[in-house]
C-alpha cells in the first residue's frame, strides 16, 4: 500500500485521500461491497465496526455499530447515493440512535470513492465533505486517545482566549 497524496481544505471541510493497492479494481471493490470485509477496516483502531445491514445498491441503506474499548456502542448509517461497479461509489454517512435511525443534529459526511487501474495496481481516491467542524470533532472523538482529547480542549480554550 502506498499513500499517493492527501489534501485537506479547512475552508471547505474536505479531505482528498489517494492510496494505491497491489490488487485489481474488482478485488478492491469487494472490500467495499462485502460487509464482512468492510467491517474489518471501517472502524477506528479501538472501535471495530459491525455491519448489520449493507444494501449496496443506489438508494440502499446500510447500518452499522462500532464497539468502543469499554463495550459502549456508537451507531452509524449509510445511504448509497450513486454506484457504478466496480469503479465509482458515493454515499452519505452519519450518526444513528440505538434503533439505527439517523440523528440529524450533527449532519452527514458525503464520500465519493473512485477506483482506477494504474499499471498493475488499483488507485483509490476518497473525497470526503463534512457539513460542520462540530460533526468532524464528534466523529474524531471516537478512537481518539485521551491526549488527543485534551489537546482539542486546549485548542478550544486557546481560541476562546484569542477571541476575548
Amino acid at each position: 500500500m502506498t499513500v499517493v497524496s492527501s489534501q485537506t481544505d479547512p475552508e471547505a471541510l474536505t479531505l482528498t485521500f489517494v492510496a494505491e493497492f497491489n490488487a485489481n479494481v474488482e478485488r478492491v471493490w469487494q472490500i467495499w461491497e462485502d460487509p464482512r470485509q468492510l467491517e474489518r477496516w471501517w472502524g477506528p483502531p479501538t472501535w471495530p465496526a459491525t455491519f448489520d445491514r449493507h444494501d449496496f445498491v443506489p438508494g440502499g441503506r446500510s447500518s452499522y455499530y462500532m464497539t468502543g474499548p469499554d463495550g459502549e456502542k456508537a451507531r452509524g448509517w449509510w445511504v448509497t447515493t450513486a454506484i457504478r461497479s466496480p469503479e465509482h461509489l458515493e454515499f452519505d454517512d452519519g450518526f444513528a440512535d440505538d434503533d439505527g435511525e439517523p440523528t440529524g443534529d450533527l449532519g452527514v459526511t458525503h464520500a465519493v470513492v473512485t477506483l482506477e487501474q494504474v499499471e498493475a495496481r488499483t488507485r483509490m481516491t476518497i473525497f470526503s465533505t463534512f457539513e460542520s467542524a462540530d460533526q468532524l470533532q464528534q466523529m474524531m472523538e471516537m478512537g481518539m486517545e485521551e491526549g488527543m482529547r485534551e489537546a482539542m480542549g486546549q485548542i478550544d480554550r486557546l481560541l476562546a482566549e484569542v477571541r476575548a
Binding site: 497524496s5 481544505d9 490488487a23 467542524a133 489537546a151 485548542i155 480554550r157 486557546l158 481560541l159
Partner: protein
C-alpha cells in the same frame, strides 16, 4: 489547499507545542499582535534563551511565523494552523491512513492463500 506530507508528525508537533502553558500564552499574545522575541522574553520569569526555545517549538508546529525586522525578530500567530478544522481534518486523514493499511492487510491475505494453495 494545504498539502501535508506527514500529517501524524504535524499533528504531534501541534499538540506537543500546545501542551505547555507558557507556549499557549505566547500564542494568545502574538495572535492578537506581532511581538519581538525580546518583548516576549520580558514577560516571563525565564531566560531569553528559554523563551527563544519555546518560540522555536511553536514555529516548528507552524503555530507562529517569524519575520525579521531590522535587528529584531517579530513573532506572529498563524491562524490557519490554530483553526480547529485544520487539526480535525489532519486527524481524519490519519483515520484514512489506518484504514488504507487495514485494507492492504486484508488484500495481502489473498496472496498468502494463493501461495498456500499452490504449494
Amino acid at each position: 489547499m494545504v498539502v501535508y506530507e506527514s500529517v501524524s508528525d504535524e499533528t504531534d508537533r501541534i499538540f506537543h507545542a500546545l501542551a505547555d502553558a507558557t507556549r499557549r500564552d505566547i500564542v494568545v499574545r502574538v495572535v492578537q499582535r506581532g511581538q519581538s522575541v525580546s518583548t516576549l522574553a520580558e514577560r516571563y520569569a525565564m531566560s531569553f534563551a528559554a523563551v527563544q526555545k519555546h518560540v522555536a517549538v511553536l514555529e516548528r508546529a507552524h503555530l507562529i511565523v517569524k519575520e525579521r525586522r531590522g535587528r529584531e525578530q517579530i513573532v506572529h500567530g498563524n491562524p490557519d494552523t490554530l483553526r480547529k478544522a485544520t487539526v480535525l481534518l489532519q486527524h481524519y486523514e490519519e483515520l484514512w491512513r489506518y484504514r488504507a493499511q487495514s485494507i492492504s492487510d486484508i488484500l495481502s491475505e489473498d496472496v498468502t492463500v494463493k501461495q498456500e494453495g499452490e504449494s
